[in-house]
């Protein structure tokens, strides 16, 4: 079986890997690069637990082939904090208990960060629709939405 050689950047670091043509970006992150922050909840792009950004665009890594990462810049939940300094979203999610089991949290953080980079002052409706691709079964979304809105307000004030 011939594998494909891929060179890409993950969270700013250059990486190389060999992958089966059938392997998804999520498989590669989890099984080859040991980045298990992105989760597989469905494998069909419905739950968003595997959300990453590719050249700044939010994608479900289970719907992208590993081979497609060639020359791209991938960002995952593991790259959100800057050293020991957490991103304001991470701090706020802990403070608001915007997570219960935490399996959806990596995907939601990646998606919410991507939203705030595009829209620093989102309405509740915008946050709800932006995160509509990220399933959470525990929280009923209430505390998640509040955490994102409040982080946005703090970040606007700080900037």
């Amino acid at each position: 079986m011939s594998k494909i050689h891929v060179t890409t950047k993950v969270n700013g670091d250059e990486v190389e890997f060999l992958c089966d043509p059938r392997e998804t970006m999520l498989d590669v992150l989890r099984d080859h690069l040991n980045l298990t922050g992105a989760k597989e909840g469905c494998g069909t792009g419905d739950c968003g637990a595997c959300s990453v950004t590719v050249d700044g665009r939010l994608v479900c890594s289970c719907l992208m082939l590993g081979a497609e990462a060639e020359g791209k810049e991938i960002a995952t939940v593991e790259g959100i904090a800057n050293g020991e300094a957490l991103h304001p979203l991470q701090t706020k999610f802990i403070e608001y208990a915007a997570l219960q089991c935490g399996i959806c949290t990596p995907g939601i953080l990646v998606a919410a960060k991507n939203l705030l980079e595009r829209e620093p002052d989102p309405t509740e409706e915008q946050v709800r629709y932006w995160l509509a691709g990220n399933l959470c079964r525990c929280t009923g979304y209430d505390k998640i939405i509040r955490a994102v809105m409040d982080t946005a307000a703090d970040m606007r004030e700080a900037s």
Partner: protein, 751 residues
């Protein structure tokens, strides 16, 4: 734990230092940075990957399984079938084995027939396609009412309990009948009697994390298992039996768990991974796909129910009758008796009759789901109560208050209620601004109550003090809702040290005595009670050390604010001795200080809730939208109020999904039609409004701090509350869940 008097455990405190504060969770940092280790996140050197061969047929005799082509595929290391598991099992263990690996008959679409381990998951999946199975198709049935009909195919003869009335179909495997009073007289007294038939479809627990396991088992009968589960001790006991080894030789470690809601209280792929590991002599990891989860793990029961309730003009319920038929898949144990017992729990009735039928069908074995049996029963009963209120022009909350169960009234399932908080919840609903807020045009408001028993269960907790005056606690109940924080808060309250100085670990099965599953809303109650008592055990030893040093009687020492103190002036004049001062010397004054508690506490205390919902219906599309939602529930005492709110909100959201979207759709061929999240649609962020919460605190006399479980009751009221709101909005009474747009459009057309 034997209590001489109910309530002797309750301390009656009025103020707390730690309990009731909103501290950060200890697993927070790991979970926001992606490093928390869930079921599928484990790796082992030399690990193989497993995959499962499943039946595409709803009901078929298995004539032959030919695995030779699969075994010949390069990279395949082991194949197991039923022959690789224990024989001679009985009862529930046999049922569980039959469910995770069929013997001679495939009983539902997705039933496991064989499992394969290979050097990669791609190879394992390729190998699955090479397994050739010869079937003889059998007639199937997936609907609960159809499965009870005389001509329905028999799923498994000989399963019927003798409680089942004579002449019923063999698919009816158990029967419950209860109640009290004169039903005829009760209905005769009523000014209005309404009788309705209701159905609800199976809903899946819908945890986002797939089942996952990493297993090692050798020919020496020693095994290691890592898996996501609500209870690793039951996994240990069950898996050991299924693969035929001693319980104590299998060590099970619970991973972080990505949601369970009842669905991870049993085993599915764990015993298969163990059997594959034994055969290949390599560690084996298995992870389910979403379609495997939907097809072959437990959804809740589907139900068919008949309700008849009589009411006087002034709103007194004179009699209530309920018949509940619950389909539990191709196995016994559907929670029909629970449905019957929970159904009329909110009402004080002179005449009540409740019946429950457990029915088998060609579907996966139902698994527990948040308050098993109660939500569908509440949907049926609370819908009829609402219809009576509307017809008699009565206020829904006033009417519920007039008939409410309270301390000293008789429950429909028999006993006299202890201290319960239903009246307080109804009064809080009545006083809530939501009830006074004006409705928009075409909007309806629904109210419904719900009930769940709550559970105690076997519990074992260990607490060890460190030299620096901090504490570590081992619990055996996986943390599914923030329980590590709650345990630390309760221990901090007793020890008198800071929350941050306590670390709580979910210990593996080799470290601690048996613990029941994290289910039945039991963890904050039972593990909490055990943590408090383990801390008290340690405090007793700390007081002993202080007494020793002061040369006084241990009885003359009390523990206050984290210090040993003389009990009074007669005990002697000594400065308070802080915990840290004692632990620093503990190695030289008698050895390490630990506290333990093991028991089966039985004072869980039941829980009631009341939900208020505003909804509107789009008459063109039939889509129902939730505009405002309020959950009011008795928590006894909220140890961490934010997590209590989270349980209320999560329960409500799941109930909303069950009410409006979620259902198992079986085709004529008996195959599940909606096996991905796109088609099995759980609520997304844009479907829901903010969910307001009110925490009512009517202390549970069975817990030192008055805690009642809060995890399950929240899913009981939403189904009816939303149906009642829809009825208010567009005047149609929806009696079949989900209230999906096509069903609502049809009802509107027939209006």
């Amino acid at each position: 734990m034997a209590l001489d008097k109910p309530g002797e455990d309750y301390e009656g405190r009025t103020s707390y230092t730690h309990v009731g504060t909103r501290v950060d969770r200890p697993d927070g940092l790991d979970k926001v940075t992606g490093r928390a280790k869930f079921g599928a996140d484990a790796h082992a050197p030399g690990m193989l990957h497993g995959a499962i061969v499943r039946s595409p047929h709803a009901h078929a005799k298995i004539l032959k399984i030919d695995t030779s082509k699969a075994e010949a595929l390069a990279g395949v290391k082991a194949v197991v079938t039923r022959a690789d598991f224990a024989t001679g099992l009985e009862g529930e263990e046999w049922n569980v084995l039959e469910n995770v690996m069929a013997s001679d008959t495939a009983l539902y679409d997705g039933h496991a027939l064989a499992a394969i381990a290979a050097t990669s998951s791609l190879i394992a999946r390729d190998a699955v396609k090479l397994v050739e199975v010869e079937y003889e198709l059998l007639p199937h049935v997936t609907d609960v009412d159809e499965a009870m009909k005389p001509d329905a195919p028999v799923i498994r003869a000989g399963q019927q309990s003798k409680l089942v009335p004579e002449g019923m179909h063999p698919n009816v495997v158990n029967y419950y009948e209860g109640g009290h009073g004169d039903m005829d007289a009760g209905f005769a007294e009523a000014d209005l009697v309404i009788e309705r038939h209701f159905t609800t479809e199976a809903a899946h627990q819908g945890y986002i994390e797939p089942h996952a396991a990493l297993a090692t088992l050798g020919a020496d009968g020693k095994g290691e298992l890592w898996c996501c589960t609500q209870g690793h001790f039951i996994v240990q006991k069950t898996c050991a039996a299924l693969v035929g080894i001693d319980t104590s030789q299998l060590r099970v470690t619970a991973s972080e768990i990505g949601g369970g809601f009842g669905g991870k209280t049993t085993v599915f792929l764990e015993p298969l991974a163990l059997a594959l590991s034994r055969k290949s002599n390599r560690p084996v990891k298995m992870v389910m796909s979403r379609s495997e989860i939907l097809r072959a793990t437990g959804p809740t029961s589907s139900a068919s129910m008949d309700i008849k309730i009589g009411m006087t003009k002034d709103g007194r319920i004179t009699a209530g009758k309920g018949v509940f038929r619950l389909q539990g898949g191709a196995f016994p144990d559907a929670p029909a008796g629970m449905a019957a017992e929970c159904s009329f729990a909110p009402y004080n009735l002179n005449a009540v009759s409740i019946e429950g039928y457990e029915v088998m069908a060609n579907r996966p074995k139902q698994a527990a789901y948040r308050a098993p049996g109660s939500p569908m029963a509440a949907f049926a009963v609370e819908s009829v109560v609402d219809e009576l209120c509307k017809a008699l022009e009565l206020d829904p909350i006033e009417t519920r208050l007039k008939n409410a169960s309270r301390e000293g009234t008789k429950a429909a399932y028999g006993p006299t209620w202890d201290r319960i908080g239903l009246v307080e919840c109804l009064e809080a609903a009545q006083a809530h601004p939501h009830m006074q807020a004006p409705l928009r045009e075409s909007e309806g408001r629904g109210v419904a109550a719900g009930f769940w028993f709550n559970h105690g269960g076997e519990t074992s907790v260990s607490l060890a003090l460190s030299e620096d005056g901090t504490a570590q606690i081992s619990v055996g109940t996986p943390d599914i809702g923030g329980s590590r924080a709650s345990m630390a808060l309760m221990a901090a309250e007793i020890l008198g040290i800071e929350y941050e100085n306590i670390r709580v670990t979910v210990a593996d099965t080799a470290t601690l005595g048996y613990n029941d599953v994290s289910h039945g809303s039991r963890v904050t109650y039972a593990s909490g009670l055990a943590t408090i008592n383990a801390a008290k055990d340690a405090v007793g030893k700390l007081c002993d050390r202080a007494a020793q040093r002061w040369g006084i009687d241990p009885e003359a020492v009390i523990w206050e604010d984290g210090c040993a103190k003389p009990a009074g002036p007669n005990a002697g004049q000594f400065d308070p001795m802080p915990l840290k001062e004692i632990t620093q010397r503990m190695g030289r004054t008698g050895g390490p200080i630990s506290g333990h508690f093991e028991a089966t506490p039985e004072g869980a205390g039941v829980s009631f809730g009341v939900h208020i919902v505003d909804a509107h219906v789009d008459r063109e599309t039939g889509k129902t939208s939730i505009d405002r939602y309020t959950v009011i529930q008795d928590a006894g005492k909220a140890v961490h109020p934010t997590y209590v709110e989270g349980q209320f909100q999560g329960g409500a959201a799941q109930g909303i999904g069950w009410a409006l979207n979620e259902e198992y759709v079986y085709g004529e061929d008996g195959r599940l039609q909606n096996t991905v999240f796109l088609d099995y649609r759980i609520p997304v962020a844009s479907d829901l409004p903010m969910i307001d919460t009110v925490i009512v605190e009517v202390p549970n006399p069975g817990h030192p701090f008055g805690v009642r479980g809060v995890g399950e009751t929240g899913i009981c009221p939403p189904l009816a509350a939303i149906a009642n709101a829809v009825s208010g909005a567009v005047g149609v009474r929806m009696t079949s869940l989900p209230m999906s747009p096509p069903k609502i459009l049809k009802a509107l057309k027939e209006q």
